[in-house]
Amino acid sequence: MGKATFQIWRGDATNGRFEEYTTDVGDGMVVLDAVHLIQAEQAPDLAVRWNCKAGKCGSCSAEVNGKPRLMCMTRLDDLDLTRPVRIEPMKAFPLVRDLVTDVSWNYAAKKKIKPFKPRKPDAADGTWRMLQEDIDRPQEFRKCIECFLCQNVCHVLREHEKFDEFIGPRLFVYSAALEMHPLDVENRLSDLKKQDGIGYCNITKCCTVVCPEHITITDNAIIPLKERVVDAFYDPIARLFRFARSE
């Protein structure tokens, strides 16, 4: 057992500061354990979200030493404990209090995406046939635990605050899971282009880097969606015109 110091953001949208807490740390502890220990011993009103403590629910997202992380999957042995560990809330979303942010926008934005619409069942008993290799890709996307860390780092949301015009990487992953679902017959390409703002994404891949589920957000979801959008909205007259001018 040793001791470590944590600087944790305390406060709400109008007013706050980093508070320093020193607490015991032991074998195998993760950041969330330290936060809980501080909560139990020193600051019972310290606001933090969590559920599973095993990286399965996506509740405990925060920024640890400036890096977007799940607190329950960030081991203290991987951090430099000779200096205070800084824990702060996700920055792209409005602050509720301490480490808790208002992520309701993600839920509202999801609701605008057209839901799953299956083709007619393949068999008389109302079931479908799908091969494993045809669902490997959408299954990758369905691993998403909605931690919203990717939304938090995407500059289109974080810096440019395009919350009304851009749904962000999480929801591109969601759209891709639907679009690549072997049974789905809905068409979301026009929405992706207009309402969802896929054009704003300039493939910086920051989202892929932070995804705790290791979903290859950009290469496997966003880029194929962009290609589909381009194919769908490929306009032969405009191309002819461009072609003529370059002659």
Binding site: P44, D45, C52, K56, R75, K110
Partner: protein, 605 residues
């Protein structure tokens, strides 16, 4: 009068896990106005953590499977204290409920010919669990959530219900607060479905999250409903044991379903040494036969690692107690050994158990494709809960329904793995359907109980005014957990349990005077203080029921009465709130099996 917002619904669903979402979807489909509240954000309920799979007789992998086998497996697992009507409905309806998820977008793992793949699990005779790797719960909750948000249901997230409103003998609404700013809210409803999950936070070593503070059990109890079978708390045999901070986190039974074996420190597969009589002719004779079984050989019997959870948990406990455990007080669970049997073993393990691979790699620094895991029992599930009608899921209080883990009856003395996720779907749907019907048929408006709103508001604010006595809610909760683990845990005795009762009295005094710092904005200290009452009430119900049952059966194991008592097979325990407010314990005869069901059980052996 306290300040609060009001919402009016025909049906209010409390809980947005599998059971709550399924109930809300069904109620909404019936054309009534539905609200659904949950303590966490949508999609974060316990259901998201379920790993192994959902049990349903689709018979894609073994066509000998049918509802009769599933029914019989469930009854045997529950040691015949189950409500047989529920076990029958469950076995018959689970397949349709699972296939329906596929129509809503779920993508289960596939067989070679493109149908839903099913895996072996403890206590199930045939491979029966539809699954997605080891993240089945995530697939289920996300499917229900993504479907549910388009069904015209009002969702209220991060809202905690602290009281049900009862007027003239039926429920008329619920009182609660929003976690974000602490504002109060009253939901007026003609019918209420409780789908609040379990009570695992009453124990120290648990696979359950902060949400599992027995709210639904306690809300129903306070409203006058019967709770049954509360002595039956399931300890899952395999939780992580090291490092200390992850102690209790679940290691899915799927590991054993894929061929993982349990060994003690001498390398011995100790499960072969203790096979209960009623499972003997279904269990592998040797290691070879066990391996053939997990490989899908239809003529082989299952390895003893896949016996019911209560039994496996006790065997592990015994090994540890008798000094044959692993370094950190567990036993070894080895999946890496299968590399000698399957091609591309490492890849195979990572593909079948990706969640477990990452969980151990990241939290324990253990590579499960190379080394064994250390595991030990962890509190996992409560079979007991709100007594409901098998068909409608209505409790003993008119207008109050319950489904999922907070309801009781299906699992009896012990739940089979995979039977919970199917329970949520089957009985969640039924609860939603019959709650809607009840609301539609009810001519009277949901009014009254204003005095209860005032009491509930005063109760919720009480912790703020208290003098600082140096105690805090987290400490009280921790002491309760330690006490329950020690006195009413896996192995029970009369003296230990009797000592729990005065300890509970003392904790109740502490809980009712515990001060809270800060204000009403997102304040976990306050929330924990309010949850304490529920945990204490239900801990007492567990202790009293466990003291009453002087035998060992299913998950309830008593060192002082290690055998089954045939007399005790005739009743279920009942806990309810007496007229003077104290807790009353009674028994009720078990629901009899019909002649047809008896014949089925006999036929299936």
């Amino acid at each position: 009068m306290p300040e609060y917002r009001t919402h009016e619904y025909d049906v209010l669903v409390i809980g947005a896990g599998g059971a709550g979402l399924r109930a809300a979807i069904e109620a909404s489909a019936a054309g009534v106005k539905v609200g659904c509240v949950c303590k966490s954000l949508l999609g974060k309920a316990h259901t998201v953590m379920a790993e192994g799979g959902v049990a349903a007789v689709i018979a894609n992998v073994d066509d000998r499977d049918n509802w009769k086998v599933h029914f019989t497996d469930t009854m045997r697992g529950g040691q015949y204290l189950n409500n047989p009507a529920m076990a029958e409905i469950h076995a018959k309806e689970a397949p349709a409920r699972v296939l329906e998820l596929e129509a809503w977008g779920a993508l289960f793992d596939r067989t070679k010919d493109g149908r839903i793949l099913q895996r072996n699990f403890g206590g199930h005779k045939y491979p029966r669990l539809a699954h997605v790797g080891d993240r089945t719960g995530l697939e289920m909750i996300r499917t229900l959530q993504d479907h549910g948000i388009h069904q015209g249901i009002d969702f209220h997230m991060e809202c905690t219900i602290t009281r049900l409103l009862v007027h003239e003998g039926r429920v008329v609404g619920a009182f609660g607060y929003f976690r974000e700013r602490g504002q109060f809210v009253v939901f007026r409803a003609k019918a209420i479905v409780l789908a609040t999950g379990g009570i695992g936070k009453a124990f120290e070593i648990t696979s359950n999250s902060w949400e599992y503070t027995a709210d639904g059990h306690a809300l129903a109890y306070q409203a006058g409903a019967d709770l049954i079978d509360m002595e039956f708390v399931q300890f899952h045999p395999t939780g992580m044991v090291w490092p200390p901070s992850v102690r209790g986190i679940l290691v899915t039974e799927g590991v054993r379903g894929e061929g993982g074996v349990l060994r003690n420190k001498d390398g011995k597969r100790f499960m072969f040494e203790d096979i209960p009589e009623n499972y003997r002719n279904q269990t592998a004779k040797d290691e070879e036969e066990g391996w053939r079984y997990v490989q899908g050989d239809k003529n082989a019997n299952r390895p003893p690692e896949l016996l019911t959870r209560d039994h496996v948990a006790r065997c592990i406990n015994r090994e540890v107690k008798e000094g044959r455990g692993s370094p950190h007080g567990g036993v070894f669970l080895d999946i890496a050994w299968i590399k000698s049997r399957v091609q591309n073993g490492e890849e195979h393990i990572r593909r079948k158990l990706p969640g477990m691979y990452h969980q151990f790699k990241e939290l324990a620094g253990v590579d499960i494709t190379q080394e064994p895991m250390e595991v030990g029992p962890t509190c996992h599930y409560i079979m007991g809960g709100i007594r409901v009608d098998a068909e409608t899921q209505m409790s003993t209080v008119p207008g109050l329904f319950a489904a999922g883990e907070c309801a009781a009856g299906l699992h009896g003395a012990n739940r089979l793995g995979g039977n919970s996720l199917s329970d949520l779907l089957v009985f969640g749907k039924r609860a939603g359907e019959y709650a809607a019907k009840y609301a539609q048929e009810l001519a009277i408006a949901s009014v009254g109980a204003d005095d209860q709103i005032e009491q509930a508001a005063a109760g919720a604010l009480a912790p703020f005014g208290r003098p600082d006595d140096g105690d805090n809610p987290f400490r009280v909760q921790r002491d309760l957990q330690k006490m329950m683990q020690a006195h009413v845990g896996i192995v029970r005795t009369e003296t230990e349990m009797l000592a729990a009762l005065p300890a509970l009295d003392e904790l109740e005094v502490r809980a009712s005077s515990v001060p809270v710092e800060g204000n009403r904005d997102y304040n976990p200290g306050w929330h924990t203080a309010l949850d304490l009452g529920n945990l204490l009430t239900i801990s007492r119900a567990v202790a009293l029921s466990a003291i009453y049952r002087k035998e060992s059966r299913g998950a309830h194991f008593r060192e002082d009465f290690p055998e089954k008592d045939p007399e005790a097979a005739r009743y279920n325990t009942v806990v309810r709130r007496g007229a003077d407010g104290s807790m009353v314990l009674e028994t009720t005869p078990v629901v009899p099996t019909t002649e047809v069901q008896k014949a089925v059980i006999e036929e299936m052996g």
